[in-house]
């Protein structure tokens, strides 16, 4: 057994603090809280920071700052508190994002329900009432990885890639949901369709979500989704938002 957190260097581009070797709620919480602390510390050699599922990346030019020096600083900060029980970041939002689960817009819902061992009706009920948290944002700009769904949703990725799912597609695998930013090939199953735009390049706030935000995907019909798309030009796809404290 290796002890966590672990500190590693990432090429010449920075340092990584890993809080676990598997996805877990406390480790995700630790990664988010540790990043918030780094942002607050404003170390001059750090150009930016980000989190993955259970790790925090610290961008530092390692040609100028030795990894040993960074490791020492990071160790000191790590020792300052119990990161696994840290509070979630401040200023989080709860989003209710309307989602259509009709077969035409959710072509793999039946297949996913089967993999999870529930009926399609039960699958829609669970997916449309689960509340998930943004664990990390990545792969594409603004694209959230959200979790965790109940254990029976620990379904594997497909063997082969789906050629393309549309922007706003809700996909599922390994107890997580993703809303796709752009049309993209994926190994995850397409189980719903939203009109939510995670990345709005022309907007003043180009990114809708932040790690730590929570989302629900209440069911609407395909027809209702069409009406929402026609009416809501904000990129929110008819989503309601409220502040989480």
């Amino acid at each position: 057994m290796t002890d966590f957190p672990q500190i590693r260097s990432v090429g010449m581009s920075g340092m990584l603090v890993q809080f676990a070797e598997k996805v877990s709620e406390p480790a995700n919480r630790a990664a988010l809280a540790f990043r918030a602390a780094l942002q607050a510390a404003e170390w001059s050699e750090v150009t930016e920071t980000s989190t993955s599922l259970v790790s925090t990346f610290i961008a530092v030019d390692l040609a100028r700052t030795a990894p040993q020096a960074m490791t020492a600083k990071l160790q000191a900060l790590l020792a300052a508190q119990d990161w696994f029980h840290a509070p979630l970041p401040a200023g989080r939002t709860l989003w209710q994002v309307p989602c259509a689960y009709d077969e035409a817009l959710a072509p793999q819902l039946i297949e996913a329900a089967e993999a999870a061992g529930v009926s399609p009706e039960q699958a829609i009920k669970e997916l449309s009432t689960s509340r998930v948290r943004v664990l990390t944002i990545g792969f594409a700009p603004g694209q959230p990885y959200m979790g965790e769904l109940p254990e029976h949703w620990n379904i594997p990725r497909q063997q082969t890639l789906t050629k393309s799912v549309p922007p706003g597609a809700l996909v599922v695998a390994i107890r997580q949901l993703i809303v796709f930013t752009n049309a993209s090939p994926t190994g995850w199953r397409h189980v719903g369709q939203t009109a939510f735009q995670t990345f709005r390049p022309e907007a003043e706030m180009p990114f809708a979500l932040s790690p730590g935000d929570e989302l629900c995907f209440p069911a609407v019909t395909a027809n209702e989704l069409r009406k929402i798309t026609a009416k809501d030009t904000s990129g929110n796809g008819g989503a309601q938002q409220e502040a989480l404290t």
Binding site: V10, G11, S13, S52, F57, A63, G138, E202
Partner: protein, 342 residues
């Protein structure tokens, strides 16, 4: 004087690029920007302007352009055939582009990414702090026939300068440092990787470059259960079938395939520029060696302006010879050369 650069024909992937955007990694958007950073600095040095300005990045081939005002250009990166109104141009040099003159940039003779810089820079829209096009993110689009690109205000008039052409366009030796997942690969796999001659596969773009070899795959231990982690440009990702991909400037920010090592930043230009079929070898170096190489590269970048030399032109290729004042400045045709200067 600012004007407009008109595009009358364009290769398939010409984009506006600069040094990219910092600060959006946490939102899934990496820095991106030019594939060959050296070329951007060379262009800035040749035109005597800021390296913050944007240029056109041309993949494999260029296009046909004209400006509606007198302007200056510099050509850097992969050498391509180029001419103004039929007169061939020296690559890695700056030139005057008179209003209305036809600039034709053809295919790359070697290398992959060529750059067209203009005096004042390409004044494309600034989005999130940068003019860089990021196609996969939906930021901007490839330049197309009929595009009219605004040129920024040019503060200088100097042309006819050149820089020595670096040798970074035909593959070669690439230095790699160990990274966070290197020890998932057994030492013998790493040794074999170190000794293998790779060929740059035709499958390559701004996201990644696939490497072929006759050596079989390079596998990590337990490689299907690796957690998705941060990705940085230069990472050498090993896909499910054991093939290495060097991840480039427009790569994603996270990924689940293991990475055997990371190309050091100053050698990444060489990977980007390697043409299809070029031979590349990767060698692990210590962190200390990588540090020294990076420092040297940074010093060389700062010294670029001092390496500039004037282009000597062959009078036979100068169409409008009579327009030029061939005797001026240092030597006067009428003054007494032995008289004291005032």
């Amino acid at each position: 004087m600012s004007g407009t650069l008109h595009v009358t024909s364009a290769g398939p992937s010409i984009t506006i690029q600069d040094q990219g955007r910092l600060g959006y990694l946490s939102q899934g958007l990496n820095k991106s920007g030019v594939a060959d950073t050296t070329a951007l600095f060379e262009g800035a040095a040749l035109l005597g302007q800021s390296s913050e300005l944007a240029a056109l990045e041309m993949v494999g081939m260029g296009g046909t352009f004209h400006s509606d005002t007198d302007s200056r250009i510099a050509l850097t990166g992969a050498p391509m055939s180029a001419s103004i109104d039929g007169t061939p141009l020296t690559w890695n040099a700056s030139h005057a582009l008179p209003a209305g003159a036809k600039l034709v940039i053809g295919g790359a003779r070697v290398g992959t990414y060529g750059y067209l810089h203009v005096g004042g820079g390409i004044d494309g829209p600034v989005r999130m702090g940068s003019r860089a096009t990021h196609i996969s993110a939906g930021l901007g689009a490839a330049i197309a026939l009929g595009d009219a690109l605004p040129i920024g205000k040019d503060k200088s008039q100097t042309t006819g300068n050149a820089l020595p052409q670096e040798e970074r366009f035909d593959g070669g030796q690439i230095r790699v440092v160990a990274s966070m997942q290197t020890d998932l690969f057994e030492q013998d796999v790493r040794d074999r990787f170190n000794q293998t001659q790779f060929r740059r596969d035709p499958r390559a773009n701004r996201m990644g470059v696939r490497m072929d070899s006759d050596e079989g795959g390079f596998f990590a231990n337990d490689q299907l259960n690796i957690l998705s982690e941060i990705i940085v440009p230069g990472d050498i990702q090993i896909t499910g079938d054991g093939t290495p991909y060097v991840l480039m400037c427009e790569c994603g920010t996270t990924g689940g395939y293991p990475r055997i090592g990371t190309v050091i930043p100053c050698d990444l230009n060489r990977v980007a520029q390697a043409p299809a079929g070029a031979t590349l070898c990767f060698s692990f170096v210590s962190h200390r060696e990588a540090e020294a190489a990076e420092r040297q590269a940074s010093t060389e970048r700062k010294m670029l302006a001092q390496r500039i030399y004037p282009l000597v032109r062959d009078p036979h290729t100068m169409r409008d010879l009579l327009r030029y004042q061939l005797v001026s400045g240092a030597i006067s045709a009428t003054a007494d050369p032995f008289a004291e200067e005032n």
